[in-house]
């Protein structure tokens, strides 16, 4: 976890991992909420089961991309909340830029039309 390091060394991220980071980009969430958010954002095509989800969450906590926060959910006190770290945010941004580059290239090569971005 090196604040001065290059996040691009960790690219490309697995799709599931990227979606988890995306889900945490705007706000803190607990595990279940992350899963739901990913499902919504991808229109149901990416569903993270508990094994995948928590395995990735544990890995990201260990690597310092996300942290647990001391927030208790009013509805379900069992749940733990997570937040992106600045380092994790930089990694997510780097991956998003990489994907954007890929999209731009696809548009240049006429694989995608501008209307796809609408």
């Amino acid at each position: 976890m090196d604040a001065a390091g290059d996040p691009r060394a960790f690219l490309p991220l697995s799709p599931s991992g990227f979606y988890i980071l995306l889900a945490l980009a705007a706000e803190e969430r607990h595990g279940y909420s992350i899963g739901k958010e990913v499902e919504d954002a991808t229109g149901g095509s990416v569903r993270l089961g508990p094994g995948t989800l928590y395995r990735l969450i544990k890995q990201m906590v260990t690597d310092g991309w996300i942290v647990e926060v001391d927030r208790v959910d009013s509805e379900d006190p069992r749940r733990r909340y997570y937040r992106l770290t600045p380092w994790g945010r930089r990694i997510a941004r780097a991956e998003a830029e990489r994907l954007a580059d890929a999209v731009r290239t696809a548009m240049d090569r006429r694989l995608l039309s501008a209307s796809a971005l609408a």
């Binding site: 595990g31 279940y32 569903r47 508990p50 094994g51 995948t52 928590y54 395995r55 969450i57």
Partner: protein
């Protein structure tokens, strides 16, 4: 506790404990929130666990790789030890698998047996007469069927005017169905094929492709074999193996002929067939043999003239064919398993030494709660990684070794053509790799676990290598060195004996000599015709460019043929059964010249010694010594047997030096030094003879071809005989001992390499333990030389103990192999001395790197070592 919770809790058990503790509640809550998807989620849980474990393994491997990169010499030695141990095992297993373990290629091979006769003098042979075979078949209830087979040596196939030599079997009509063999084309034999006058033949796939262009129309056509017409009724499947009991082999054959179904009853005593039986379903060999005892007794009662004193029993076909090879192979297998154990112990020693450096750190971590499973896991990871790399190299070694030995294996072992590194061998390599990892890692893991924090902390700072563990390791190295010495000396003795054997003086000058296999002219030819054929053949051979001399003879040195005859000296009488025996050879003129032999007395045969002239003979030195003591040989006459009852008296005209008969002792222990007499070929006509040609300037292969053309020109109805040089014949005859020698040498080399790596490991470890001591001594001014001498002295002391033990073991072992050694004493001092010096020098080399490492200890660092 709903079913859902139970299932989830069970799935969670596949995760590491800390993960489980931390995320269990979250996961349960998630599952509860989406009850409809429980099934999919459970699957995902298990998948996650698998991936997590794989991740951990991958991380441990890259950690292990990083650690290993910093110690390339250690890695090299350990990988080599694994490679040698695993490679040797894979190679031997591949041979064992192809030769012994694979079932014979027949239907239900375990119920197949061979009828074996015990004769009145107690000799045991796997032969029977066709008549007895039929009676056994009809009188036995425990045998489902009896088939007879006999090898016919050689038949000549005449195809479009060209002769080809074929080998094969004459078999009873139920042979193929008994073994469960179905021809690929056409049909097998039926009872009708056994009727007199029906010459039915089945050919091999190879013969069909090579000589009949794989034409399916060959079925039903007639072929000429030895001048008789045979009808081809079937073609066997490619690579089909056939059982030949009296040849004690299972091998491919060119041709099968049907035996007549009703052999004349008068031939009951002609025991020349092999009898293959199939046990009836559910019958054991013991029951079959019990019944066979009664059947034998009945036959003896009914036909006392031929069957008195004969008993029959059944032995399993696989025992007959594979038995001899099997026992030696299992011994070799035991040897390589032993080598693997030594290799694993070696590696274990080295691993323990390497990990003991971290002993304190590990003890502290364990005291603070780190799981010792994790540490054991890391150690096994490292070992497993090294073992895997070693296994890959080992399989490579095994492949190379089998390629190198391929030729010898094919000639020395049955079914050797199917030896290969195949799927079975690779599976075995993986299994052995896992076993090796466990064995090698077990010792260090156990010793690391047992060291508790207190005792480790107490002993830390003192270092030193006087610990009990170190002495145990040193003791183990002593055993390794002793075993290596024994193996290397024994293989050295075998090697010298082998070299003496193939370089043994033959009594002839075999340089530039080409000899042929014997051919046989048809018995129907009149003696005059035989003689003129031989004269013409000699004329052509002697006319070949580059040929100094050429001769024909019944047999010659290293020909694998010996003919003995009783003889007598004119004027002496002998009691019945006490007549002198001698090897009896019939040779043309120039026989002795062709072998570069000059008579010691008198002369050799000339072309004038022919049919009408006075009968003459030449005798060997030994003959003179044994039978002509006190007489001038050139004035004596000896009796030469010219027929079953006919003989004539021949005047001895020459005495020649003894010739070596066999390179390796034959069944009667004969190698040479036997009385021998020679008669002129013309005076002792033979339709069976071989050619000897002396052509020193010619290349043997082209000389051989010329000889073969001469044969074809003079005897076009037969394929020309194989030709070879005497050294090729010697190589052929020594195949089995060459294989044994090579194997022993290889095992000796491996054992030595392992022992040396063991020495390296122990010395290395000792140096590591004594780092503080060296630091202090260097700080106090000890020179490089003193330190190196100290380390080397201890290493050599351990080696010396091992060498001493090894020499003692060898003294006992050598006595056991003495019968295999020709002309070398089993206690040959030169061999012993060479090996001992070699081992000491190598031990010195192996200890050098650790010794030098000891001198590079930084005194300040070493004192700060903890």
């Amino acid at each position: 506790m709903t079913l859902r919770r139970i299932l989830v809790s069970a799935a969670l058990l596949t995760y590491p404990a800390d993960f489980r503790a931390h995320y269990r509640e979250d996961i349960l809550a998630d599952i509860d929130a989406d009850p409809s998807r429980t099934g999919v989620q459970l699957l995902d849980l298990v998948k996650g666990a698998v991936l997590m474990h794989l991740d951990a393994i991958a991380r441990d491997f890259s950690y292990a790789l990083r650690r290993l990169r910093s110690a390339p010499l250690f890695v090299a030695i350990v990988v080599l030890a694994f490679a040698l141990g695993i490679g040797a095992n894979v190679a031997v297993f591949s041979v064992l698998d192809a030769v012994v373990l694979r079932p014979l290629p027949f239907v239900d091979p375990s119920s197949l047996g061979v009828i074996t006769s015990i004769g009145p003098r107690g000799d045991v042979f796997p032969v029977i007469s066709a008549v007895d075979a039929l009676d056994i078949a009809s009188r036995s209830h425990t045998l489902e069927g009896v088939a007879a087979s006999a090898s016919f040596g050689q038949r000549t196939l005449l195809l479009r005017g060209k002769p080809y030599a074929l080998h094969g079997l004459r078999v009873s009509t139920n042979y193929l169905s008994l073994l469960g063999i179905t021809p690929r084309l056409g049909r097998g034999f039926t009872i009708a094929d056994g009727k007199p006058g029906m010459h039915a033949a089945i050919i091999s796939d190879e013969l069909w492709r090579k000589r009949f262009a794989a034409d399916p129309g060959v079925i039903g056509t007639a072929i000429m074999l030895d001048g008789k017409s045979y009808r081809v009724i079937g073609v066997l499947a490619p690579g089909q193996l056939l059982a030949d009991p009296n040849g004690e082999r299972v091998a491919p054959e060119d041709l099968l002929e049907a035996l007549p179904a009703n052999p004349p009853a008068t031939q009951r005593g002609a025991r020349m067939m092999g009898g293959i039986v199939r046990l009836a379903p559910g019958i054991t060999i013991e029951r079959a043999n019990a019944e066979l005892k009664d059947v034998s007794a009945n036959l003896t009662r009914a036909f006392p003239d031929t069957n008195k004193g004969f008993a029959f029993f059944v032995q399993p076909l696989s025992t007959l064919v594979l038995g001899k090879a099997s026992s030696s192979l299992w011994i070799v297998f035991a040897a390589v398993v032993g080598i693997l154990l030594i290799a694993c112990a070696n590696v274990g020693n080295m691993l323990a030494a390497r990990w003991s450096v971290r002993e304190r750190e590990l003890a502290v971590r364990r005291a603070l709660g780190a799981s010792s499973r994790r540490i054991a896991g890391q150690l096994f990871n490292e070992t497993g990684l090294l073992a895997s790399i070693g296994a890959v190299f080992g399989v490579g070694f095994a492949y190379g070794a089998l390629q190198l030995l391929g030729g010898i294996l094919m000639r020395a072992l049955p079914r050797a053509q199917s030896i290969a590194i195949d799927g079975n061998s690779l599976l075995y390599a993986i299994a052995i790799g896992i076993v090796a990892t466990l064995l090698a890692g077990l010792g260090p893991v156990l010793s690391l676990r047992s060291s508790d924090l207190q005792s480790v902390l107490k002993s830390a700072g003192r270092g030193g290598d006087g610990s009990r563990r170190h002495r145990l390791r040193a003791a183990f190295v002593v055993i390794e060195v002793a075993l290596a010495i024994a193996l290397v000396i024994v293989s050295g003795l075998m090697l010298r004996s082998f070299l003496e054997t193939i370089n043994a003086p033959l009594g002839i000058d075999a340089n530039g000599v080409v000899v042929s296999e014997p051919i046989e002219l048809p018995q129907t030819e009149a003696p005059d015709a035989v003689l003129s054929t031989q004269r013409e053949l000699l004329r052509r051979l002697r006319a070949l460019p580059g040929v100094e001399s050429a001769a024909l003879a019944l047999f010659y040195p290293i020909s694998d043929i010996e003919l003995e005859s009783s003889t007598g000296v004119f004027g002496r009488t002998y009691a019945r059964g006490q007549e002198p025996l001698a090897l009896a050879n019939a040779v043309s003129s120039q026989y002795f010249a062709a072998f570069g032999v000059r008579p010691l007395r008198g002369r050799a045969f000339t072309d004038d010694d022919t049919v009408g002239s006075a009968p003459v003979a030449i005798v060997s030195e030994r003959f003179v010594q044994d039978y002509l003591a006190g007489i001038d040989p050139l004035k004596a006459r000896i009796r030469i047997q010219t027929g079953p009852t006919q003989y004539h008296w021949a005047a001895i005209v020459g005495v020649v030096p003894d010739q070596r008969v066999n390179i390796v002792a034959d069944a009667f222990g004969v190698v040479g030094g036997i009385p021998e007499y020679y008669a002129p070929l013309a005076q002792l006509p033979q339709s069976f003879f071989a050619a000897i040609v002396r052509a020193p300037g010619l290349d043997p292969t082209s000389a051989g071809r010329e000889v073969q053309s001469a044969f074809t020109a003079v005897i076009p109805s037969q394929p020309p005989p194989e030709v070879s040089t005497i050294s090729q014949r010697i190589a052929n005859d020594t195949v089995k001992i060459r294989l044994t020698t090579i194997l022993l040498a290889a095992l000796g080399a491996i054992a030595l390499a392992l022992a040396l790596s063991g020495i390296f490991g122990v010395v290395s470890f000792s140096v590591t333990q004594r780092v503080r001591e060296f630091g202090v001594r260097i700080a106090l001014g000890a020179t490089t030389r003193t330190i190196v001498a100290d380390v080397l002295r201890r290493a050599l002391a351990t080696t010396a103990i091992g060498v001493a033990c090894g020499v003692i073991i060898t003294a006992f072992a050598a006595r056991a192999i003495a019968p295999q050694l020709q002309s070398i004493s089993p206690f040959d001092p030169a061999t012993f001395a060479t090996v001992v010096v070699l081992v000491f020098l190598s031990a010195l080399l192996a200890s050098l790197q650790p010794a030098l490492r000891a001198t590079r200890v930084e005194p300040a660092e070493s004192l700060r070592y903890e």
